[in-house]
Structure formats: C-alpha cells, structure tokens
Symmetry: C2
Amino acid sequence: MNHQHSICLGDIHAAAERIRRLIHRTPVMTCATIDALAGRSVYFKCENFQKTGSFKYRGASNAVQLLDESQARHGVVTHSSGNHAQALALAAKVRGIPARVVMPRNASAVKQAAVRAYGAELFLCEPNLTAREQAAAEVLARFGGTLIPPFDHPDIIAGQGTAALELLEEVPALDAVIVPVGGGGMLSGWCLAAKGMKPGIQVFGAEPRGADDAARSKAAGTWLPQTDPRTIADGLLTSLGKLTWPIIRDQVDAIYTVSDAEILSAMHLVWERMKLVIEPSAAVGVAVVLSESFRQLPGLTSVGVVLCGGNLEIPPLGSPRDQERQSS
Amino acid sequence: MNHQHSICLGDIHAAAERIRRLIHRTPVMTCATIDALAGRSVYFKCENFQKTGSFKYRGASNAVQLLDESQARHGVVTHSSGNHAQALALAAKVRGIPARVVMPRNASAVKQAAVRAYGAELFLCEPNLTAREQAAAEVLARFGGTLIPPFDHPDIIAGQGTAALELLEEVPALDAVIVPVGGGGMLSGWCLAAKGMKPGIQVFGAEPRGADDAARSKAAGTWLPQTDPRTIADGLLTSLGKLTWPIIRDQVDAIYTVSDAEILSAMHLVWERMKLVIEPSAAVGVAVVLSESFRQLPGLTSVGVVLCGGNLEIPPLGSPRDQERQSS
C-alpha cells in the first residue's frame, strides 16, 4: 500500500459500502471467441450496464453522498460533455439536491437531453476548456454549491475503484486487469483497489494512440499534458490529473496504446459476439487484450477488462437489407 | 395441463435437466426507462446471450442429446438460413457427431461462415422452400442421419420451453409473458412451460404485422399459412407448424402484432438504453410491451419478455462523427 497518495484501499472499501444500495453490482461476462483470440481467459466487468450507462456513476454517487448537509443543500456543479455529467445529475437527483452542469454548446442533443432528463440544470458554453472552467466558476459564484470534477478528486477515484473490488471478489484468480485511461480516475482507483486486494496483480492502462499522454508521461517519468487529442474514444481525451498522475506513475505496471482501427474492430467484435453495446472508450481495453504485444506477455492466465461504458449515439436502425423470405 | 398435445411440462423439465450443463442459464435484466414507458415492470430473459446467440441452441441441444447412439453416429441434417443452423451445428459438434446444413445460396456470408465455424458441412441450394426441402432429402439419402427441423418437433419445442422455466424460477410473480412467434416452436414451448408452472399466467404471442399468420389463424380458428411475408424480423417469416399450431390455438391467450417501424424503434431503445444487441425478431416482443394496446391491458403488474436472439450483421463501425475534444 502506498500511503503518500491521496486515497488508500480503506477509502475504496468505505466508498463501496456507502454506494452499495445506490449502484448496480454489474455482471462479469466471458466470451469463448475472445478467449481464443486473446490466448487467455478474459473476464469483462460490464460497467456499460451501470446506472447512467457508465462507471462514472460510482464516483459521482460517492462524492455526492459524502457532502455534508450544509454543502449538499446548495447542490453540485460540474463541467463535462460526457458520462460524468449524466452520472452527477442522477447522483444529485437521488440525494434530492440540485445539479448544475456546464456543457459545451456543441455537445450532442442526446447528451444534453440525458442530463436534463436526470433533472440537472444545463448551462451551455463555448467548446473550449477555458470557457468551460469560466462558466463553471460563474455558476458557482451565482448559485453556490460544490464543484465535483470528473476525475481528479479523491472521492471520485475511490468510487471508481469499487468496481475493481467487485471484480476481484467474483474472480479472485485474476493475474492482471486492463483499464482504459483518460484523466485517470478509473485507472488510479482500480490500481489502488486491485493492488490493495491482491499485491501481486498487474495493472495496465489502455490508451488510444491518438491521446497517449499517459503512455508518454510514464515513459518520460514526468507529467506530460495531452494536446490536440485525435481519437474516436471520446471519453479518453483529457490529460492526467494532479492526483491521478502520481498513482499511475508509481503503481501502474504499463500503459498499452492501440490505434483507432483496433478500437473500432474490438468494438465491433464485442457488439457482434458478446451482444453488448459498448462505446469506443470501452473498446480500448478490449483492443489491448487482443493486441499482439499484449498476447506475448507471459504468465497472465486470467485477465480482467473493464467495459467502462455503453453511451453512444446509435443511428436510427432500419433500411433492412434484402430480407430472406425463408427462415429459422 | 393439456394432454392431447405432443409434449407436456414433464418433457420440458426433462429437457432442462438434459441440457443444463450444455447451455448458458441466461440473465434476466430490467430497465427503468422501459418500465416507465410500458407502465409496468418488465423482465427480459436475455437469450441473445445464449450460446450461438439465440434460444435455438436449447431445442437443438435437446434434440441432439436425445438421439440414440446408432442414430447419432450418422449425424444430423437441417435446412435453415438462420439461427437454427448455427444452433444445430454447435449442438452436433458438442456431441461429436456430423452436422449437415442446407442453406439458401443467398444466405449472408456471415451466416454461412458461422455455420462452418461450428464445424458443420454446408450445402447451398436455390433460395426457395421446395429447393431446400429437396436438397435436405438428397443429403439424407446420401449420408443418412436424422433430420432436425427448426421448430415443428417435440424435442425442439421442449428445449425452447426450458428458458421459460428459468424465467419463472427467477421471477415467480410474473402475470404474463410475451413471446415472438414465427414457426411457433418457442411460443408453444413457453406456453406449455409457463402455464404448466403457473396455470393463471397469461401467454401472448408477438408477431410482425407483415408476417401475421399466427394472429390470423387465431382469429379464424383455423391454420392459415404465411404467404409473401414482409418484415424486417427475419426470424419470424415462417408459418406455424402441425405441432405448434394446436398448442397456440388452444393455450395462447392472444397474439399482438406490431409494425416494422415499431420493431425498429424498440430495437433502437434496447440497444441504446439497455446496452443489449438484439436482432429485429427479438425486438418484436419489446414493441408489443410498449404498444398502446398492450399498455391498456389491466391487471398485468409484472410481464416477462424474451429477447430471443442477438444475431445480425453489424456494419463496420467507424466514420467517427466530429469528435469533441474536451471530455469526461
């Protein structure tokens, strides 16, 4: 255990207890086809089935539940174009407090509608980080409340780690876990949880090659920001944070990167063979476990992969192909 | 219980015991969004997670396991362009016997490849029922073996009914179940199982409006064939069979029909909100539970719906929309 970090295994156990009745204990699934392709047993933790469609609901619930009454009364604020916004909106609704979410003006109508449907108040801003931070500061100044950032916060990190506890309870034999990394909230939480539960386990980050700041930072031994990210994995565009980077630097065994083509191919495989809708960011871990370089790693009989979310816009289905007239 | 039919509850219990270690006991899932839209609690039996991607593996396994040694040695034969072909191929492989499958020449490359991947020998024929039956007869004459039809067979019906036993064991409070109907193997098996376990339960068929022979037959009180079916639900194109029709006539409470637009909309909802890949035929039951006419039915607090399969060709994913550069 590494006590110089912002959180420890005890915080994750406490988070698990705190949010147990609020979240789904998501299933662990397997797929013989993927086992054959990966050359080992792969256990998928299905956080695409988590409430609001991603693991983000764990951290958001933990953070919202930890507010004291006087804080809670004034509500919560965040800026996010993605899964954290929906997660925080529902977590606030469940506690019965206001949520105010700053989103970039170009966020998809579906995402805006989802956040509103969970009862949050939406504030649109220009689509850049400066505008978002400024808009969030204005909302805080005007309404009060507590800023709950998407990943770089001890309560968020602890909440995300709870899924790793569940996976290891269910599959204690795991030799390694593979966790997608954007800002690093999930990866750092999983790392502290998994290594806390089972010190010998290996923890790997999975990153799109077009947003590989974690891989570059690990290689350089120093925090390097992500500029101009280009990947279809739109949940993994951000740089690591002040809290997440030291945990990843000190405890994560390695970061593997994959191309967008590998991500799309892995996503297609999971849809087609596992019948699971996952978003591109969730396919990044699948692409790593299928990659030649990961397949070559010795000594990993059983590997866990988190399918972190399933939120994406599904185009209208239809335009049936030539229908076969004879069936079954 | 109705003893004039070809099978009874005891056959279904025996099938369940026989195939228990061969099949997946599939999960039952729920969705708060769909409950709200349906106006009641809906429990989804996820046969899209069944081996080979559909419920068909239950019946095929039961039929193959029931062959005696001298029959089994000569293998099994069927003609099918769909899920039954894959199911029979794997069931035969598991028993270690040959499977020979007649498929129409225009069956998709993916389906042909899937059947071959399960180790079956493929025979292509012209895409019409006469050519298929003739090709199957030729294969039988040449190689011997046992014809295992896709639905109109007592062992198939009994096998399909086992999923209903599992669902009622897990959710005994169900007031009704909704089951898609093509040839009627699943609907008749589910009906015998559900009414056998719980005599008061209501059993409804779900049928595409463009292939509504079951609804028309029930209304007429006499078997009417399906001619020129037109629907995206390509697993539900066939007419009822000699064994399935009397069960459906005597025991099914009603057949509800839905349009292809309703089917596609239900399929989209399940993909987007439940994160489950289901095929159009599986969406037919979902469309019924969401339909205004079904919503009006009184006294149904808890309803089971079978998601019968998840096999469809998923187009290559990609052509990412404008990616947002700021995330989580």
